[in-house]
Amino acid sequence: MNAEAARPPALDTTTPLAIAVMAMGGQGGGVLVDWIVALCEAQGWAAQSTSVPGVAQRTGATVYYIEALPVPPDAPAGLRPVLSLMAVPGEVDVVIGAEFMEAGRAIQRGLVTPDRTTLIASSHRAYAVVEKQAPGNGIADAGAVIAAAQASAKRLIAFDMAKAAETSGSAISAVMFGALAAADVLPFPRIAYETTIRNAGIGVEASLRGFAEGYEAARAAPASEPEPAPPEKMLSPASPPVGGAAYVAIAKRVRDTFPVPAQEMIVAGLRRVVDFQDVAYGEEYLKLVAGILALDGASKDYALTRTAAKYIAVAMAYDDVYRIADLKTRGSRFARVRAEIDSSPEQLVYTTEFMHPRMDEVTGSLPAALGRFIESRPSLFRQLDRIVNRGRRVKTTRLGGFLMLYTLAGLKRFRRGTLRHAVEIQHRDSWLARVKAAAARDYDLAVELLNTRRLVKGYSDTHARGLSKFDRVMAAAAKLEGRSDAADWVRRLREAALKDEDGVALDGALKTVDSFLH
């Protein structure tokens, strides 16, 4: 059977145009792929698409792959190309990343190469569970993907396609189709794409809007400059303070008595604590910051004062019942909610708060003496807790619920007398004492001791866990004091503490510290 083939056949060197779509389950990648195939076939091309959905792909990452090429006009009947069912690394013309880290995944898989690949990526992020679950900031660095894209893509088109889809009231698949049209890799006119959408016949108008949005955005998108990485946190502007005369007066004083590098943070902190309690509380805050400033100098750009300004404010504006009631009943908050759920003016919005007070919160809100009295009687505490400790849903848009929280918020004027306040202030002062003691000997360590306050956050159990992490790091810091690398270690311990909920990473780091301490 091999006899008849003696001389080499004339091989056609044509290669197909290859498109890989990296999407997450539920993003409509399948719709996009069907459009692309229909488009190619309508233009007289042969096209093949494959996918590995695994019907339960759900929210996971998935790849769709398309190969297409024009069938030569003089082709004998029934001539059909042999196309690959799998993306071939190094031979992909277009990679469409429906989410920024998915674009990164395509680069990792070697599908994006400088000689050939146009990378069309949505710069928006849908955070993976592993990014969201960290007690600290676990968000992956989009900058790394940008760098890798610039290294590997022949051309990069990146913009926020999720936003484009939202503004046009369509799906991201339509926006991606528009971006593909604008990329001009397939030799088809825009109208051919739009006709494809029309012929598909599902959600035509919305899809056409999304398509146009994507087309224009891709045209406008700078060839290689994608969206910047997550926005840098902007400090509250140094604009003149707004509020009562007394507040304006002490806010002004910040400008006169504190060094410029620290001013912005101090103004932000001052605003927070005054908003939390009153102007006198603001005075108290400034006194504490001034106390730190006395140990600081210009040499390190007032890092100690800046850090202190931040965390003293956080420590002073703790979240107690009165604070929560206040925040939940503000007009600004009502407005924010309406904006967040993008409800239109003619719609009514009712809000319900999910609260679960425990006896701890109650005793904390009572006058210190009374609170201590109850706490020192476990059986009484337990009995009361049985009454108090359950989920309560407060309807803040109804008069009853609103007035309850509004009144509660009004009681903040008695806050200074509460047990919680006494506890918080005591904790604050002993912490600052440690900082001051360290500042004289080890400036950087003092800064890190201030930063350690970051570990105290959350409510109830989470708050307790945070406190214990804080205590363990502070304790370790005491042992580390005097070492040249004390500050570095305290920073490492803090970072470890923010990695997981139960402090597994922290335990590991503490073991290491112990190992070289004795």
Partner: protein, 716 residues
């Protein structure tokens, strides 16, 4: 109601002779069945052939018009058993399921079917779930075909070849009185292509005819002495008949090439991959011309010794491309050649990996290494020793390794199974960790972050059965999960009955989301929706009590995390003997949204008063500890940066994809997390009275808010 509707696509199943069919592999497959005059079809859904079952369901009108009987089998075993109809009657039948797991379940029936043999063509269409995207262990169906002696088709992965394989398969089955397996890999099932259609055929012999004139032949029954004769018949009659038919009809294909001293013998399914590799080496082109002779085995069992010998004779070396392990074909070919004294060098697993999917680059490397060894001059220097720098070596690309997060499939937004596992985590906080036996289904996503619950998974419907050994006195009971899919597949007996009979002192949670959701939302016995063609609405609790379980709790709203937690605690602490069965029921949110959203929007358009709920987080109350996320993992519960300079970490935030299932609020409440969560009820088309009340309310509230704002010392 299946997740994906093919009502549009099934129209193409009515195409007539000469018309061009365009569509997915499975749709083409269905058309091929109708063109072959199939009399009955059945099967059990599972990737990658779930859509085949969905297509058949959506095509029921056409099927009954053609007189084709269609059953949605309870399991793969039920599907395989239904092929018994072709044992005694000349009626063609086809069943489908995923392999190898489905084949494992069906193997009892398959073995009997193969032993007894068939008169009507019997086709078993298996979705070979192997390689990337596979959800199961990496095994091949090849072994089953060989041990039971069922012929195995592995056609080239393009629509014309797949359609031809169906038609050939039925004829081969009838010519050799043997059932035939048609193997399709994941991508072939979902490959989009086209072929020229033929007219649909009504079955030549109907099941009505069979029922009216029943036939019985003791020699077809698998019992001694008949069974011994059947084994002889397999070898002496059916096998030679098959070989003869495959040869005569040229089911295997040979593609000539001028490099006649070498060749590649390959599984049909590998054809496109091999061709692309040859093309990349400059030895083939996109239109199917090749310089290397190819022998394409569209039938991978039985092998046709003569054809293989003829292909290899006179060649220096031949490469066998056979995906997966063990290397059955390579071993067989070596034996065939040795017997005939042909000393062509056989390569295979020496240049290609023994296991794993033959991806584009794996294939390229294997084929290149083969040719470099066997016919080096055929390659250009560049192709022989390529040295283009790989982009993967660029440090900036390497740097992605620690950055790009894994993104496995997980629970959907609003999934009713999420609160079940949130409750589990709360219980573990109190009672400590337990041994948790998981099952197959969406609920298996519990093994991933943030839940990290589940120690083993032993197979569909086997969750509770896999905890059977832990039936010993202990402070802690074992907990096992099973979905409604697995429950009706075999779990009622294998898991529940088993636990009841053995008085298993453990906790069993039946996750009931009204559908076989993981396979695409097909209906089940316990589905609550009206289904005109099937019998549904059979409560799971009734079945459980029916097999004798006494401690049974029904939870009708899984989102009630506190109730879920307390019920689990009760089950774990009660002294009552026997299994403690909790049936946790709430509708799959994916299906629910698909059903309700259109109705909701229509009602809103129609001016009706409608309320949409969604949840939110107050960013100034949230401290960014993300405890809520560690108890949820909902895609719509995410994080965002605030511009508050006093906040270091991103705060939790609920995006607009929220479907208002209530899980986050319930969890915040049950776990005593924080007061950040709020529920917003958005009222579309409120009534006039309602608007009036709202206006009065906001007048009072607004006044108070402005008043306090005026007196607040600092405006933030």
């Amino acid at each position: 109601m299946a997740e994906r509707s093919f009502t549009q696509e099934v129209r193409s199943l009515e195409l007539q002779a000469g018309e061009v069919f365009r569509g997915e592999g499975i749709l083409a497959l269905t058309k091929a069945l109708l063109q072959s005059g199939v009399g009955y079809v059945g099967g059990y859904q599972g990737a990658p052939i779930s859509h085949l079952m969905d297509v058949l369901s959506d095509a029921q009108g056409l099927l009954s018009k053609l007189g084709v009987q269609f059953s949605v089998s309870a399991s793969e075993a039920a599907a395989a058993a239904s092929l018994a109809a072709s044992m005694m009657y000349p009626v063609r039948g086809a069943v489908t399921f995923k392999s190898t797991v489905g084949t494992n379940v069906a193997s009892d029936a398959l073995a009997n079917l193969a032993s007894s043999g068939v008169i009507g063509g019997a086709l078993i269409i298996i979705g070979e779930d192997y390689g990337e995207g596979s959800s199961i262990m990496q095994e091949r169906s090849h072994a089953f075909a060989m041990k039971s002696q069922i012929w195995l088709l592995d056609p080239r992965p393009d629509l014309p070849s797949i359609v031809k394989a169906v038609e050939d398969g039925f004829e081969l089955s009838e010519a050799s009185n043997t059932p035939v397996m048609l193997e399709l890999r994941i991508r072939s099932c979902h490959v989009h292509g086209s072929f020229i259609a033929k007219d649909n055929k009504r079955p030549a012999f109907t099941l009505q005819q069979a029922l009216e004139r029943p036939v019985r032949d003791v020699n077809r029954i698998v019992l001694p002495p008949a069974s011994y004769l059947q084994e002889k018949e397999k070898i002496e009659k059916r096998w030679p008949a098959a070989v003869e038919f495959i040869k005569r009809r040229k089911l295997n294909e040979t593609f000539a090439g001028d490099l006649s001293e070498i060749g590649i013998a390959l599984q049909g399914g590998m054809y496109n991959g091999v061709m692309r590799a040859l093309q990349r080496l400059g030895l083939a082109d996109i239109w199917g011309h090749t310089r290397v002779p190819l022998y394409v085995m569209n039938v991978t069992y039985p092998l046709i010794d003569d054809e293989l010998a003829e292909f290899c004779v006179g060649k220096r070396a031949v490469l066998i491309v056979e995906e997966g392990q063990p290397d059955y074909i390579e071993q067989a070919v070596n034996t065939i050649l040795r017997r005939r004294g042909i000393n062509t060098r056989i390569h295979g697993k020496d240049v290609l990996p023994m296991a794993g999917e033959y991806t584009a680059d794996v294939m390229l490397k294997g084929v290149r290494d083969f040719i470099v060894g066997a016919a080096p001059d055929a390659l250009s220097d560049a192709d022989r020793a390529p040295n283009e720098p790989a982009i993967g070596d660029d440090p900036r690309v390497k740097a992605l390794a620690g950055v790009v997060p894994p993104r496995p499939p997980g629970f959907c937004t609003g999934c009713p199974e999420r609160p079940i596992f949130a409750a589990m985590k709360l219980v573990e906080k109190e009672l400590g960790p337990h041994h948790v036996a998981a099952d197959i289904g969406c609920h298996l996503f519990s093994i991933l972050p943030p839940f990290n619950i589940g120690a083993t998974t032993m197979g569909y419907g086997l969750g509770p059965a896999s905890a059977a050994a832990f039936n010993v006195p202990s402070q802690k009971k074992s907990i096992s999960f099973i979905g409604d899919g697995g429950f009706w597949h075999n779990g009622l007996t294998t898991s529940i009955g088993n636990a009841v009979y053995n008085k298993h002192d453990g906790v069993i949670v039946v996750v009931d989301n009204y559908y076989s959701s993981a396979t695409g939302g097909q209906d089940l016995l316990s589905s609550r929706a009206d289904n005109t063609t099937r019998s549904t609405k059979h409560p799971i609790t009734k079945a459980v009590e029916g097999v004798g379980a006494t401690w049974v709790r029904q939870i009708d709203r899984t989102y009630d995390v506190a109730k879920m937690r307390d019920t689990l605690k009760e089950a774990l602490t009660t002294r009552e003997p026997g299994p403690k069965v909790i049936v946790a029921s709430s509708e799959c949110m994916l299906n629910r949204q698909r059903r309700e959203k259109p109705l909701f929007n229509k009602a809103v358009k129609g001016g009706q008063r409608m309320v949409r709920e969604r949840y939110g987080v107050d960013e100034d109350v949230c401290t960014g500890d993300h405890a809520c996320i560690r108890l949820s993992g909902c895609p719509s519960l995410t994080v965002k940066h605030t511009d508050d300079p006093l906040k270091d970490d991103p705060v939790a935030s609920v995006d607009n994809t929220c479907v208002g299932c209530g899980n986050c609020g319930e969890v915040a409440e049950a776990a005593v997390l924080c007061p950040s969560f709020y529920r917003a009820e958005i009222v579309h088309n409120p009534t006039r009275l309602e608007r009036l009340r709202a206006r009065l309310r906001s007048a009072v509230i607004g006044y108070l808010q402005r008043r306090r704002a005026r007196h607040s010392p600092a405006l933030s």
